[in-house]
């Protein structure tokens, strides 16, 4: 009886030591968690999550203050990647923060624009070019489609236009072959 007890305690101690040693020896030196989360977020900087940008949201997730399903531009795929990273169950997007939309870019109607610069101040990635009382224009390649410029415009001259699919950006679709149930001969 005592022998068995000692064996078990000894075994426990030994395995504990091995585990402790392994934890030190094979420690993974990775990016800080915030950066890893930030790398998954789509960087639209739209603030739909309730935080003023992707980095603040990443910080909030890392601190446990925000849930992983508050980013509509990241979509379900983004939630899944965050869940994988954090080792939690994926969950559906929280509709309170909006729904995923096809990638769009802002377009300024140059006939209406009054050159007020409000949109330039709103743009989180400096993708709008212009100056006071000068006509503004969106640099399409840099626009993240965050829609933050739409609301401040006093004359409603900014619209969001979904990106049109063209040949260089075209993707092969997932093969869906209709299941045809064969009738036995």
């Amino acid at each position: 009886m005592t022998a068995a007890l000692f064996v078990m305690i000894g075994l426990g101690l030994f395995l504990g030591l091995v585990l402790g040693f392994a934890a030190l020896k094979f420690k993974v030196e990775g990016d800080p968690l915030v950066d890893q989360i930030d790398a998954i977020l789509p960087q639209t900087q739209c603030g739909q999550c309730g935080y003023p940008g992707c980095k603040p949201y990443a910080t909030a997730i890392a601190a446990g203050d925000a849930d992983i399903n508050q980013c509509p531009p990241g979509g379900e795929a983004g939630v899944k990647m965050l869940a994988d990273l954090l080792g939690v169950e994926p969950k559906p997007l929280n509709a309170e923060h909006g729904v995923p939309k096809p990638k769009s870019v802002a377009v300024i109607d140059e006939n209406i624009c009054i050159g007020c610069t409000l949109c330039i101040q709103a743009c989180p990635v400096d993708a709008i070019l212009g100056a006071a009382k000068q006509m503004h224009t969106v640099i399409t390649a840099e626009c993240t489609g965050c829609e933050l410029c739409v609301a401040p415009c006093p004359v409603d001259c900014i619209t969001m236009e979904p990106l049109k699919e063209d040949i260089p950006h075209w993707k092969w679709r997932y093969p869906v072959i209709p299941i045809q149930v064969q009738v036995a001969a």
Partner: protein
């Protein structure tokens, strides 16, 4: 929308499975010739159970029934199991085994193509552990007995456990050579003495060695049809021959000869039909060699030192566990890569 390639070879899973069944036929004929028609009853029972179980589970899983029923994979599993079971076992053994194979080992893992373990071997192992006595009672080769049951009498016995008057069960059943060998060796008899037993043939069990040769013939047909590649049978048989040969050479009194291992037990069935199951086996060329050699080593170990007479089923299942590991570490060099 159609995609390239716009045409394909005229092959299908059904054709592949049909060829496997065809390749088993010479073995079955030899089996009937050597041990009587009991095996036919088992085959019919197993086939019917497998098809019914397959259809029922597909229905439950909401899958198209007919295409999967016609793919023939259930029949292959059923036949392999039936050939592995003693042909004088009661009907429920075959039925329970087939149900384990189809329902548990195949469909609970996701059906065709998804099972990590060979379904027939899972069922065999489950039966061997659950019903060890029945599973080790094999018929005496016809050559050695005057009792020859007709097909109807076989049927009667398997279903109702009724033997014709004047025939005792002991008269028509015996241990297998592998089993006998093991018990005799425990009693410190030498190999030479043991081989004097009446049911030993030239190399292995009387009758059984003929059946094994016929499996070999069927296996060669599969090789010729490119249904299986040479890797698994060659690696399995060579490893088994080498390892048993070395030990036999060191101590012939204690270790049986390579040919006994090759033609005895389920060796040939395993080499060409069981270990070559594509779904649960290794897929890379190097992986197939490792996988088959592993089965051979385990088979020899279990046969020589283990508690059960034949080790093929356990060896296959143990190696099945290692398949993902083997495959991941034996990826062939891709064209244009230096690795």
């Amino acid at each position: 929308m159609k995609f390239s390639p716009f045409f394909t070879t005229n092959t299908s899973v059904s054709i592949v499975m049909l060829k496997v069944l065809l390749a088993l036929v010479p073995g079955i004929i030899a089996y009937v010739w050597a041990f009587g028609s009991g095996i036919v009853v088992s085959l019919i029972l197993a086939s019917a159970t497998a098809l019914l179980a397959e259809a029922a589970v597909l229905q439950l899983r909401n899958r198209p029934v007919m295409p999967f029923l016609l793919d023939g994979s259930a029949l292959v599993t059923a036949w392999l199991l039936a050939l592995a079971l003693p042909p004088i076992a009661p009907w429920w053994l075959v039925v329970v085994g087939t149900l384990i194979a189809i329902v548990i080992a195949k469909h609970l893992y996701g059906g065709l193509g998804q099972n990590p373990f060979n379904p027939a071997m899972v069922a065999y192992a489950a039966l061997l552990i659950s019903f060890p006595v029945i599973m080790t009672q094999w018929p005496v080769p016809l050559e050695l007995t005057t009792i020859k049951l007709s097909f109807i009498e076989q049927w009667q016995y398997i279903f109702n456990h009724v033997l014709p008057s004047g025939v005792g069960f002991d008269a028509m059943s015996s241990a297998t050579p592998l089993d006998y060998l093991k018990t005799q060796l425990k009693m410190h008899h030498t190999m030479e003495d043991i081989h004097q037993a009446k049911f030993f043939g030239m190399f292995a069990g009387k009758g059984a060695e003929i059946v094994a040769s016929m499996y070999l013939l069927g296996g060669l047909y599969l090789l010729h049809q490119r249904i299986i590649s040479w890797h698994i049978p060659v690696a399995f048989l060579t490893t088994l021959a080498v390892i048993s040969g070395v030990f036999h050479w060191v101590n012939p009194a204690h270790f049986s000869a390579p040919l006994f291992h090759l033609l005895g037990g389920a060796t040939m069935l395993c080499a060409f039909f069981i270990a070559t199951d594509p779904v649960s086996g290794a897929t890379t060329p190097k992986g197939k060699l490792i996988f088959a050699a592993g089965i051979a080593v385990l088979t020899w170990l279990i046969r020589t030192y283990g508690g059960y007479p034949d080790g093929v089923a356990f060896a296959v299942l143990l190696m099945n566990i290692l398949v993902p590991l083997i495959d991941a570490n034996t990826q062939p060099r891709v064209f244009g890569h230096s690795k």
